[in-house]
Amino acid sequence: MTAVIRTQSLSKWYGNVLGLSDVTLEIDAGITGLLGPNGAGKSTFLKLIAGQIKPSIGKVTIFDEPIWNNVGTFARLGFCPEQDSFYEDMTGWEFLTRLLSLYLFSPAEIRAKAERALDFVELTKDKDRLIRGYSRGMRQRLKVAQALAHDPQIIILDEPLNGLDPLGKRKVIRIIKDFKDAGKTVIVSSHVLPEIEALTRSIILLHQGKILAQGDIHFIRDLIDKHPHKISVMCSDTRGLAARLVGEPSVLNIQFGPAPDTIVFETRDRDAVYGLLPRLVADNVIDVEEITSPDDNLQAVFDYLTGK
């Protein structure tokens, strides 16, 4: 599959402040999550691939074309900025139709596309209200609507779930997934792990302007095998299981809890332990309720990689 977005040695400084450092990657169709704490360089990266700022070093291509000052590529791109800013004296309908007029669509096309976008984000009944009267969730959905109204092939969303209530989040997540189901490319950023997990398993971890890891969560886990891998077992005899595990050289440490009847232990040899566990359980007749790996949670991966 040909990559939709490519960056090569992409770096950005704001004066002496480093925004992004030496980022080389390829992004394919589907949803890609950009994850990192505040100030990690997520917005800088998204603005660079949206052609809103110019790389200090390196290059960005969208469909093999450079993006900076390449007006032609903007028709294929939808960008939802992080900032909560609008032309406040417009209604939602005016905002969308006026922005669509900048694509030089015919009036009939503009009406049809605006209606479809408003319907998609469930704002049809509020379309004639002034934007200044919209709730936070409605404003966020309108921002998403302006990014996808012209039916772009790529949509870039900077913290689209920020500040939304759970219902609002669910609506925006559904919108993003619907867009992906239509075969489009979505790049979405967040500093909140469960939000990204709810959207995709394909992630890019950013920290201090650098890529820490990229790929599927399991692939990323493989990259960090030098870090201990946690395994949690909920069973009938935690002390008996712990006694058996203590003798295993692949087990680094064992803790009881945090839930009752649960032990959590760390290993550097995940495959060996997963092979050993069933044998220990069977030999010692221990009833196991659950075996989980907290490391499969993105937070754990992120903590490992950032050395927390």
């Binding site: 052609g51 809103q52 007006v71 032609g72 791109l77 900025p81 800013s85 032309y87 900048l102 030089l104």
Partner: protein, 263 residues
């Protein structure tokens, strides 16, 4: 740059401008001469023999106010806002992610704001003329003189608007610089002897006033103190050329410069 893109941007900002609070405020400010004219005429009606002569008041006070204050203020606040309001409101992204050339954004917004300002200016000049020349409305010469003056003001307005568009595209604190330029440089340097005064736009505007060509006392002649006027042809050509240069430079800067929103 496709003409359609320019028209779309023009229509976008003309639509926004119509609803903007700023438009109402500046319409009121530009209505001040009309208010003054109404007060003067009312005082003439109710206080017979008042020394104020309407046509003379229009030709001197009102036109001087329009020339030396109003067009500068209108151009300053609209011109610098062409870029800065998009930055301060953080709405620039909505424009620069569309398939519209950045030159079209500047020129389309300049055209739309220019039209607003010309409407404000024309309303201010024509209404105050009508109020103060109520007894001379049948005199075609009075109308022609007023229209001539309006033409000079319009030319000046568009030139200053282009200059402040450039300043706004280039500087962050553009209004402060604009105030210094308008009421410092333009109002002082125009009175310098020799060719220094030619470094002001006001010099070329004043060179187009009737008093500059006739040298006779009368309409706005007090504004010509210390002036060594250029010929009307040179003045018009210079103003048009400078307007084009300012706009081209503003487009170039806006296309090349990176605008980062302040957190």
């Amino acid at each position: 740059m496709p003409r359609n893109a320019l028209r779309s941007v023009f229509s976008f900002f003309f639509f926004i401008g119509r609803k903007a609070r700023k438009t109402r405020v500046f319409f009121l400010i530009s209505g001040l001469p009309v208010l003054v004219a109404l007060v003067v005429q009312a005082s003439r009606l109710f206080a017979a023999g008042a020394p104020v002569d309407g046509p003379s008041l229009f030709n001197n006070v009102i036109m001087a106010f329009e020339l030396q204050f109003l067009i500068l203020v209108l151009a300053l606040f609209y011109g610098t806002s062409i870029v800065s309001e998009e930055l301060e409101g953080k709405t620039l992204t909505y424009l620069t992610t569309r398939p519209v050339d950045k030159t079209a954004i500047i020129l389309g917004k300049y055209a739309s704001y220019g039209l607003f300002l010309l409407i404000m200016l024309a309303a201010s000049v024509v209404l105050s003329f009508i109020v103060l020349n109520i007894e001379r409305l049948a005199d075609p010469d009075a109308w022609m003189a007023m229209l001539g003056g309006l033409g000079v003001l319009a030319l000046g307005l568009l030139a200053y608007l282009a200059f402040f568009t450039l300043v706004g595209a280039f500087l962050k604190k553009s209004v402060l610089f604009g105030l210094f330029f308008s009421f410092g440089w333009e109002n002082v340097v125009q009175y310098f002897p020799g060719s220094t005064q030619k470094f002001t736009l006001m010099h070329y505007l004043k060179s187009l006033l009737p008093a500059a060509s006739t040298g006779s006392p009368g309409k706005l002649s007090f504004l010509m103190v210390g002036q060594q006027p250029s010929s009307p042809g040179v003045s018009i050509a210079t103003l048009l050329a400078l307007t084009a240069v300012f706009l081209a430079a503003a487009c170039l800067i806006f296309s090349r410069k990176e605008y980062i929103f302040e957190e």
